[in-house]
Amino acid sequence: MYANDVKMSLEEVIEETRDFLSEEFEVDRDLILPENSLKDTLDLDSLDYVDLVVLIDENLNIKLTGEDFKGIETFGDFYQLVGKKLAL
């Protein structure tokens, strides 16, 4: 992940992810913590996962599919997936 041609660390990507998830899903940013449930915190239903894929594409330029979310329970799991996709 690059911002202004500077490679971002996983920590920086996580902070940015918290920003856009908080804004899009209208939840308190402080609730987006590694140990918290992705689904419950963001109140995701099956349709919302489609929008999550869109958000990740728009903000992090990563192509995810529904399959990628199998086994993802917490934000921590999700950040690991993102880090893996970004090779961070």
């Binding site: 209208e26 919302d48 869109v54």
Partner: protein
């Protein structure tokens, strides 16, 4: 068994105002909602004139999940319906526990379709359209969204009948209730306002090109009219059986006593005096009233040379030349799929406030309009009974008659 059908709530979101109070003032003042839209000129429109509304921010009303499937038709319809339900004393808890239906008029979702398709062309991945597009793009978008938001349990479908959609939606609600199939139906019409929705209509050369004078461009029945002006927003009319309204102590605004309809079975865009006359006569017959009992006619007249002349002749043929007539499209422009519902709302506001809104810009009659009684300036007058016409492409005609109770 036939049930009396009453109106217990109305709501409006239009270029004349964002609520009933604002719209009443605009109607009384004869204020035009028409503007010049540079976006349309740049897009390649022959005429950049349009009615315009502010895009409401629904964040204060609805959750993200409720909003993502909504584009202009559903957004505008939500605003109008929110107001109508409040006036009618209906809330979600009551609606969830009773059987209330929705039959809403809508006939396009052009902008949302274009936006979604453009996204796929850019990304080459349909997932990246997002989850809301399908619910924005289907023509039943208003019904899908409002029935979900307001937890409606009754009849639920969209009515598409071109520029008579809103009027027929009220007619269908009327039939449902009068036949005893529903106690309460939310009716109305929605019309998106954007270049994508109106480009093909503009291409027919039907719109006024009086761009130097936007507020004078819509001039139904006037000798020097040169075309209609598109517009939009949404209007909601809540219908209820008289018994159900009384039972819950709802405000009864008026009674819907007649619904006439017909099809021209002729040209796809040209009007028909015969078709319009049959619709008028059917509504009068069903209402069981004479022409002398109608105090006001809200005309369909859109400011096109051919259409207004036909309607003037049809009105003259059925009513003669005395009944007061005005076209509120002189102020709003043509609200298309919404018009049949909004014009019931406008006429009800006139009835409640005892005035006839003017047919602004009516300066010189032509041969047809000279025969009927067009009201060019606001007139103080009691309205006990009014009639509203709506005609659409494909030769679909609808006439509604409303009376004080």
């Amino acid at each position: 068994m036939s049930h009396r059908v009453v109106i217990t709530g109305i709501g409006i979101y239009s270029c004349l105002g964002e609520n009933l109070d604002e719209v009443t003032k605009s109607l009384y003042a004869g204020k035009s909602g028409i503007v010049f839209d540079q976006v349309r000129k740049d897009f390649g429109f022959r005429s950049a004139l349009t009615g315009m509304v502010q895009e409401p921010d629904l964040k204060n009303y609805l959750s993200r999940r409720q909003r993502v499937g909504m584009h202009q038709p559903a957004v505008y319809a939500y605003m109008a319906t929110h107001e109508a339900l409040a006036l009618s004393g209906l809330d979600v808890d009551f609606l969830e526990q009773t059987e209330t239906g929705i039959i809403y008029g809508n006939d396009s979702t052009a902008a949302s379709v274009v936006e979604a398709v453009d996204k796929v062309r850019e990304k080459h991945d349909t997932t990246l359209i997002g989850s809301g597009a399908i619910f924005q793009n289907m023509n039943s978008t208003v019904n899908m969204n409002l029935s979900t938001i307001f937890k409606l349990k009754g009849i639920n479908f969209t009515l598409s009948a071109a520029c008579a959609s809103g009027s027929h939606s009220i007619g269908m609600g009327y039939l449902m209730i009068s036949q005893g199939l529903q106690e309460r139906v939310i009716c109305g019409g929605a019309q998106e306002i954007n270049a994508s929705a109106m480009a093909s209509f503009d291409g027919l050369g039907t719109f006024s090109v009086r761009e130097s004078e936007p507020t004078k461009a819509s001039r139904p029945f006037d000798r020097d009219r040169d075309g209609l002006i598109p517009s939009g927003g949404a209007a909601t009319v809540i219908l209820e059986s008289y018994e159900a309204a009384v039972k819950r102590g709802a405000p009864i605004l008026a009674e819907l006593i007649g619904y006439g309809f017909s099809s021209n079975g002729d040209h796809i865009s040209n009007p028909s005096i015969d078709g319009q006359t049959r619709s008028l006569q059917m509504a009068l017959k069903q209402a069981g009233i004479t022409t002398a009992e109608v105090d006001y006619i809200n005309a369909h007249a859109t400011s096109t040379p051919v259409g207004d002349g036909s309607e003037a002749r049809a009105i003259y043929e059925v009513f003669g030349g005395n009944v007061p007539v005005s076209s509120t499209k002189s102020m709003t422009g043509h609200e298309c799929w919404m018009a049949g519902a909004s014009e019931i709302v406008y006429s009800l506001l006139m009835m409640q406030n005892s005035f006839i809104a003017p047919n602004i810009n009516f300066e010189n009659p032509d041969e047809d309009s000279a025969k009927i009684n067009i009201i060019p300036e606001t007139k103080e007058q009691t309205i006990n009974c009014f009639l509203s016409n709506s005609f659409g492409f494909g030769g679909t005609n609808s006439t509604l008659i409303v009376r004080k109770i």
